[in-house]
Assembly symmetry: C2
Homo-oligomer: 207 residues x 2
């Protein structure tokens, strides 16, 4: 985000910059889903976004940088964590959010496309890893608070519990044709909570 | 597999067909890892495999069919399930096998490449889903036997427990830069076993 965009007083230039970014990210996401990362041509993105090619090349430079900005936008617009007062409630809210995003007709294919991009491009992989670090960090306090409430062992690796909620949903998305429905989300949350209660996620690995 | 290859008596033609398949799958896997599914050109595969283009086009036809055969080969050469006599032992053996494959310098990138291919190509996706069905079915008896031994609730969804062992390992491979090491495998096995014991994988979803 530039200084311009952060200042709500400068409506014209700030608004225009934000609109250009929104159009380019929309067009970039569409093209990524349709054609894949290998064919994510910035000139074509500019044409679809109805934005000058020079602007797109100057601001994003490479397809990997565009994917990185797309992931920044996805992280910025992701919902904040829940605080239901119980581990089960919080993990269920998280699982439903993840399953809902992966089942969404636009977001699901977009997640698949950025994961695919990350398998071949180091820059896209770095951006993807950062995206998940941000999302995991957002939800980690749910587990930390459950530890403080005495719901989980003290030595619990909190980020790993959050990753455990997402893992079966992504695995289902990528390796099966099964739907990402309510029961899948509920099972993911319940399994992560049960394993955490049983002490399966210690910070210090057992030997 | 053709009739020729199944007959061990016909060494010349059977041996040659099997050698051609091995060369083409090796070259196809290499090119898939290097260039991605979008650039999996069968003529280039034939050149690298030192096999006639006509043979490759006649036998495999499309890049998706080549990926499907690659996955068939990966399933055929995968190790059979363990039978250690306990759920913990069997799931740990499974987790170590999966983590070992994903951490392998050749197999890891190949798994990433076929998962990426499946995000854009329906034929590759179908082949990938079939691959995982076969692998999950191979290991499912470990969980069924644990149910019979009274280690797990009767209503346990056995294939889902096997998928739960793999899920965090694939999630780690695809969304983080963290290593697929021994502790990761042990945690995956321990978490799946703990969640299964707690009844988190019922065949009939709770309402």
């Amino acid at each position: 985000m530039t200084a311009e965009e952060k200042d709500p007083g400068t409506v014209r230039p700030g608004g225009r910059t934000a609109r250009v970014r929104a159009s380019v990210l929309r067009a970039g996401g569409d093209l990524l889903v349709e054609a894949g990362f290998d064919r994510l041509d910035l000139a074509e993105v500019a044409r679809r976004a109805e934005v000058g090619k020079t602007t797109v090349y100057r601001r994003w430079g490479t397809p990997a940088a565009l994917v990185a900005d797309l992931l920044t936008d996805m992280a910025e617009t992701s919902l904040p964590r829940s605080d239901t007062g119980s581990l089960d409630g919080d993990l269920l809210a998280n699982a439903r959010l993840v399953a809902g995003a992966l089942a969404d007709p636009r977001q699901g294919p977009l997640f698949k496309a950025v994961i695919a991009a990350a398998t071949t491009d180091a820059g896209a992989a770095e951006a993807l890893h950062h995206f998940y670090e941000v999302r995991v960090a957002e939800w980690t306090p749910c587990v930390e608070q459950a530890v403080l409430r005495g719901e989980l062992p003290e030595d619990t690796d909190a980020p790993e519990v959050i990753r455990a909620v997402s893992a079966p949903l992504y695995y289902r998305l990528l390796t099966t044709a099964a739907p990402l429905d309510g029961p899948a989300a509920e099972r993911a949350a319940r399994a992560a909570a049960a394993a955490a209660r049983a002490g399966a996620y210690p910070r210090t690995p057992r030997t």
